[in-house]
Symmetry: C2
Subunit: 151 residues, 2 copies
Amino acid sequence: MFTPQPIGFVRSPYTGTKQIPKGLGTKHEAEGVLEIQPEFEQGLADIEGFSHIFVIWVFDRSQGVELVGTPPFDNRPHGVFATRSPRRPNPIGLTVVELLRREGRMLHVRGVDMLDGTPILDIKPYMSSVPPEKLKRGWLAEAEARGKKEV
Amino acid sequence: MFTPQPIGFVRSPYTGTKQIPKGLGTKHEAEGVLEIQPEFEQGLADIEGFSHIFVIWVFDRSQGVELVGTPPFDNRPHGVFATRSPRRPNPIGLTVVELLRREGRMLHVRGVDMLDGTPILDIKPYMSSVPPEKLKRGWLAEAEARGKKEV
């Protein structure tokens, strides 16, 4: 295996998890900055041509593992690998953000759902999408349907 | 930070990197199995409702870091964070696969581009796509355009 090292840190408007919008159909529109460490700035060459990027990061303020848990926006338990819960065997988060602009080693992005100060492990270009007609969203679609019925 | 631990291993037809299709427009159609360790099987509950999943894994046979490099299918160098190169500060790979079926702790999937025996760090549900009209693919689109002109 390997020893994870932060390539940078997220600057986000969120300082506590309760501030982060959660729930079905949540749109993450918050803007933030991915501040890359000076020694890795070279690795950003040509990133500005991509409209969207993957950010792989660490749930550094999460503790413990819960293999089965109930998300805040459902009343049924699900396996951790079928959710985005922070209580994972490896506390790794993944977010797709829109790249607004690059200023040196600062990437200004839209769509952050991380806490301020979150360590970043990796950035990758987002290259292709699954066509919507081929996408099934499991318990999430079911929970949405139940939610609509209850309204 | 944290100490990465494998939640399972990839069973793939590829035993050497040269066997893995690379290049522009490559479709990864190879089938494989994500074999999850027995102690994490509970975490797979409800995963079968999703058509596509993210697999976060380790480039365990890659060595060293190259902040700027030329991909096999382009003749220009790019920053590592604008490519899927294995020679990254944290040797983490990310692949979207189609979930064909689950048999206990075995996830049969299509679209593997990992070597046989690759350690898996995490699995997450793939929930939404970036609309194609909003997606820009940077140097990759440019390299494709150059490739077509050269043909």
